[in-house]
Symmetry: C2
Subunit: 307 residues, 2 copies
DNA sequence: AAAATTAGTTGCTTTTGTCAACTAGTTATA
DNA sequence: TATAACTAGTTGACAAAAGCAACTAATTTT
């Protein structure tokens, strides 16, 4: 057995104790954790059947039936016979049910607040980030498309992080040395020197407040523009992020009425290449080069925008 | 209520479901989670009293007494009257008790193994690291000094990340604009251009494989050296990381027999300044400047190494 | 030396959860 | 289209889990 699993077990034991969910009464209320979870499930899905609840929470239907009976008597829920299936009921929370839940939520949040009050804001940030990481890694579906956000204003730290991503990802995927990162640093310095908010733009895709993908448009003479720094963290590929970034970039070029967009890439970047072609880019130049400890073809792709 | 707490609540709900601790029988054994926790507590501390267990696990002593009675009957534990206190018993696991626990451990590890089998080794590492971070932050002792690691070989992604840290931290702490980051990029480009592994070095302090602090020594003409890019993530201050980095840097200068180390800083960086003075640096120059949207004093500090 | 406190046991009770038999409506099948 | 098989939910009977209070015997405090 690896040490990874034993470390996880150790964390599980810690977190079981931390959650403090083993006492019968949830947050000193007159309800048990099971009852609260039932109420919570109802609030999550607006309307739900008893059957569904037994599936989600893994409860005995007889047991649940009795709990629901009590909830009904206490006016926490409403039951309406389902129109599709007259055996079943659509259950939903009443106002007082929702009220109870919101009181408990507040209590729970206060309790959490108490546990993290000694942390400073950046420690809190680290905590939440780490929790998200744990959750993402343990979830089947991994990353949800809706959790990706997009923006294009440069804030302090962005450029450095994008340079970091270039160095780290190309280092890992293609074994590029740190010389490549140095080259990226140079390109970004030049970009920032000539940066014009009017005609240049960087788009960033973020997950958990961390940049996971980017692309940029850099204006060039003669109504041309260069597409640069198209990059996607390998863990975030196949989610449509690349397409979204490229579309935004090309739309920007159209809006600014650039007549031609070009990009320089290498024959190695097969995944990115595929996307460029999909967006309409065509190969216009190919040249063998030796750099960052590798031999490859440096290629130019062009996309004409206005006939 | 901040979003931090609601994010934590969300994680708690997720992890409660993930742990799957709400079913009566732990891992299909004939024992409940409470019983297993009791056995576990006994295995952790070799020998323990019932009183101690009730304190740790928050159990009713009558309830525990009966569980222990059953354990005794099943030959899982041994009770020996304490020599210090004749009311109490020292309880410990028998061989078959230990055996039971080790079977359950294996089962539990298999279950965990199943949940993480799709992760690659680096993802597993990230998972364990993040769990440690969560645990450390939720435990009194916060970040453990032992979890900080130090290194000084530059790997792809490092420089970009250090630039990022400069931009993000100075942006947050002193409201520096992205122009500052651009300046940092320039300094790093120049550094890499002239980089000599013999006479230049960057030290990095890491936590969970993320850089949280750094410092560098850059060789200069006339047997001088410049100390640059001394930076510490605010969440990691006060742990002795800064002192360690500066000591390593100065030791390196001594080893290379540089006669003088200097550094340029601003009057704003009070925390870093304090550390410089502690290491023996003395103010040699001060000049008012206006940059990155701020007015401040640019100062030079020197440390003579050889008389 | 008496009073107060503590470790652990036991009887009694409530709460929580399980199982199986049942009703009534739905779906599959031939 | 009638019947068999199945499903949503209810109910009775019961077992397991947990809590409370009174008790014994040893220890500590005053």
């Amino acid at each position: 057995m690896t040490t990874t699993t034993s470390k996880i077990r150790s964390f599980n034991r810690f977190y079981t104790a931390h959650l403090d969910i083993l006492s019968q009464h949830y947050l000193d209320s007159e309800y048990s954790l099971t009852e609260i979870r039932i109420l919570y499930e109802m609030s999550e899905s607006k309307t739900i059947t008893a059957q569904k609840i037994t599936e989600i929470l893994n409860l005995d239907k007889g047991y649940l039936s009795r709990i629901l009976k009590r909830f009904l008597k206490e006016n926490l829920i409403e039951k309406v016979t389902s129109s599709e299936d007259k055996r079943a009921f659509n259950i939903k929370l009443t106002n007082s049910g929702n009220e109870l839940l919101s009181i408990l939520n507040t209590k729970s949040e206060n309790k959490i607040e108490g546990k993290i009050e000694k942390l400073n804001p950046s420690e809190k940030e680290i905590l939440v980030d780490s929790m998200n990481t744990v959750r993402n890694l343990l979830t089947e579906n991994k990353i949800a498309r809706e959790d990706i956000t997009y923006r294009h204003e440069i804030t302090p730290g962005d450029i450095g992080y994008i340079i970091h991503l270039h160095g780290a990802i190309y280092g890992k995927e293609y074994n590029f040395s740190t010389d490549f990162e140095k080259y990226v640093i140079k390109t970004f310095y030049d970009f920032l020197e000539k940066y014009s908010p009017e005609n240049d733009r960087i788009w960033m895709a973020e997950y958990n407040n961390k940049i996971v993908g980017c692309v940029a448009i850099v204006h060039q003479p003669n109504e041309e523009a260069q597409l640069r720094w198209f990059l996607l963290d390998p863990a975030f590929r196949g989610l449509g992020i690349g397409k979204r970034l490229l579309t935004d970039a090309i739309d920007f070029c159209k809006e600014k009425e650039f007549k031609n967009v070009f990009l320089l890439t290498t024959s190695m970047q097969d995944k990115a290449l595929q996307m460029y072609k999909m967006m309409g880019f065509e190969l216009t130049k190919s040249e063998e080069v030796e750099e960052w400890g590798k031999t490859f073809y440096e290629e130019r792709y062009d996309l004409r925008l206005i006939g």
